[in-house]
Symmetry: C2
C-alpha cells in the first residue's frame, strides 16, 4: 500500500471519519499496515484523528509554500519582489539562469516545492524531496569585479546562518567557504554560479538548498552521518514561508551593507560564525592537498592558512576535510 492511496481515501471523505475496516477492505491491507501509514503521514505534516470505532479522519495538511503566505512577511525592497514559485522543476539554478540571460532583475527568486535534478557543488546530486525543504535560487547583479566573487560566497553563508537562527533556535556554524552545519552535520548547501564578461560580473545565481522538514527516512542511509534537517535538529517542524522571508530580508540587508561598506563587516561576521578557523585542516585544491590551520580571511575573501613552518598561504578554492586533532 502506498501512502497516496490512504491519503486519497481520507481526502475524498473531506474531514469525515473512515473506519479502519473500510480502509482495510478498499485498499486490501492489514490494520497494522494502515497504522504505519498513518504515522508516516503524520511525520510528513498531515494531521490525522484516530478514534476507536469511528476510524480515521484527516484534519490538517502539511504547510505548503504559497505566495499569499510569503509576500506579507517580505520586508525587502528588491529581493523576492519577483518570485517564480514552481511545483516541480529539474533545478531552480538552471531555471533562474535562463531568466537571468533574458534580463531578469536583481532579486528575482525561483523557488520550487521539489527539484528533480537538484545539484550541489561539483555537480553532485542534492536531495530535494517535495514539500520538505527550501530549494531556491536568487539573482544578484553585483557591481563588483569578478575577483571579488569569493566575498559573495561568504556573504551568502552569513546571511543564511543568521536568517535560520532567527527562526529556529539552533547554533549554526559555517564551514569554509559556505556549508552550514549543526552539530557538525550539514543542514544546507549554497552554490553560486557566476557569469562574467572579462572582469565584469554579468550576474550571480545563488542557489540555496535547506533541509527544513526532512525526516531521517528521506535521506540515503550513507548521508545520515553527514546531514541533518532543521526539524530533526530542533525537534519540531519549521514554517518554510517564514524561513524564506527571513532569508530574503537578511540577505538583502547584508548585501546592501556589502555594497556600501565593502567586505570588512561581512568578514567579521563570517569569522565569528566559522567552525573552520583554528582547526588543523586539509584543503584539497585541484593541484594539491594543503595542510594547515586556517587563521582568517584576507581582503579578497581568500582563506589564510598557517602552514607547519609558520608561513601563510591563501586559498581560494578547495574542498575541505577537517582532521581530528
Amino acid at each position: 500500500m502506498g501512502t497516496m492511496s490512504l491519503l486519497s481515501l481520507l481526502e475524498a471523505e473531506a474531514g469525515q471519519y473512515v473506519s479502519g475496516e473500510e480502509i482495510s477492505r478498499k485498499l486490501n491491507v492489514s490494520r497494522t499496515a494502515i497504522w504505519k501509514q498513518v504515522r508516516k503521514l503524520e511525520s510528513d505534516g498531515y494531521k490525522i484523528d484516530a478514534v476507536p470505532r469511528l476510524g480515521y479522519r484527516l484534519t490538517g495538511k502539511p504547510s505548503r509554500l504559497s505566495l499569499q503566505e510569503l509576500l506579507p512577511k517580505l520586508q525587502t525592497k528588491r529581493f523576492g519582489r519577483q518570485i517564480k514559485l514552481l511545483e516541480t522543476v529539474p533545478s531552480t539554478q538552471d531555471e533562474l539562469r535562463k531568466l537571468a540571460e533574458e534580463g531578469a532583475e536583481e532579486g528575482t527568486l525561483v523557488i520550487a516545492e521539489q527539484q528533480t535534478k537538484g545539484r550541489g557543488r561539483m555537480g553532485r546530486y542534492w536531495v530535494s524531496p517535495a514539500g520538505k525543504g527550501v530549494w531556491m535560487s536568487l539573482l544578484l547583479r553585483p557591481p563588483v569585479p569578478l575577483p571579488l566573487t569569493p566575498q559573495l560566497t561568504l556573504l551568502a553563508a552569513v546571511a543564511l546562518s543568521r536568517a535560520i537562527s532567527r527562526i529556529v533556535p539552533l547554533e549554526i556554524g559555517i564551514k569554509w567557504p559556505n556549508d552550514l552545519l549543526v552539530g557538525g552535520k550539514k543542514i544546507s548547501g549554497i552554490l553560486l554560479e557566476s557569469a562574467a564578461e572579462d572582469e565584469r560580473l554579468r550576474y550571480v545565481v545563488v542557489g540555496m538548498g535547506i533541509s527544513v522538514n526532512l525526516d531521517a527516512e528521506d535521506y540515503p542511509e550513507e548521508l545520515l552521518e553527514k546531514a541533518v534537517s532543521l526539524k530533526m535538529a530542533a525537534g519540531a517542524p519549521v514554517n518554510r514561508s517564514e524561513l524564506v522571508a527571513s532569508i530574503l530580508v537578511e540577505f538583502e540587508l547584508l548585501y546592501d551593507l556589502f555594497l556600501e561598506q565593502g567586505f570588512a563587516p561581512i568578514r567579521t561576521l563570517w569569522e565569528a560564525h566559522s567552525v573552520t578557523l583554528g582547526h588543523l585542516t586539509t584543503l584539497f585544491t585541484p593541484q594539491e592537498a594543503i595542510e594547515g590551520i586556517p587563521r582568517g580571511l584576507d581582503d579578497m575573501g581568500g582563506l589564510k592558512v598557517e602552514m607547519a613552518d609558520g608561513s601563510l598561504r591563501t586559498v581560494y578554492s578547495a574542498e575541505v576535510g577537517v582532521r581530528q586533532e
Copy 2:
C-alpha cells in the same frame, strides 16, 4: 551595380575573358563603373586580368579560411584540435558557449567567416564582415580559482600580440587589460566570458576578433580614428590561416607556461608590451573615476595605480581613458 553581379558574371565564365561591352550590356552599367568595381574586387583579394579588347578575366580569389590549409600549420597538442568552421554565425561566443555546456574539450575552437551579431565588451557591436577578419572563440577549462581569471585576460592579450607580430611586422602595444593597438588604434578585441561554480571556473570562452584584411570602407566613419586593420597598418593583406595557426600555437605555449609556472612570466611579458604603464590614466570603474599612473600588475593580475598622493590602488575592472599629458 553591386560587386556581386560583376563577380558572378566573371565566375560564370570560369577564367575566360568577358568583354567590357558584354558586361556593360548585361549589367546595364557604364565602363567607368565596371572599372571601379574591378578595383574594389582586387582590393578584396580577387585577382583580375584586364586586357584591352579581350576584357576581364578572374584569375584568383581571396584566400578563405579552410581547414585543409589551417590544420597542417597547427603545431599544437590541444588548442584547435577540435574546430568548428562556420560560414556565418550570429556570434562565435554564443556558439562555443553552447558547446562548452555540452561538455566540449579544452582547446575547442569556433571560427566563422562572418558574424552577424559579433559582440565586443559591454555588449557593444563588433564590426565583423565576411572573409576579412579572424572572428573566433577558444575554449579553456583552467584548473585555477575564479579570482585568478584576470590573469587569463592578460595572458590572452600577450598571446595574441606575440602571435600577430610573428606574422606581420608591426609593433603591437597592449592597452590594459587586453586591447591590442597599432599606432594607438585598435586592431583587435578580446572578450573572456567565464562561467563559475563557487570559486571553481567551469570554463572560459576566449573571444578574439582581429581586423585582418578590412579596408577603410569597411568601418563606420566614426571608428576610423580609433580602429585599424592589419592590412591597413602593414600595407599588405595577411594570410588568415597562418595567423590563426600562429595564435593557437602561441596561446597554447603561454597557457601551458602559466599552468606550470604561474602568473610571473605572463606578468613580465604583459608589462613589456604595455602602453598603459607610466602614463597618467583615468580608469572608470562602475563606482567612480580613478586618476593615476599605472605602475604595474599585482600578483592577482590587478592593475596597480599610483595616485596623486603617492598611494597605490589596485583596479580589477574599469574602462580606460588615456589622458594627454
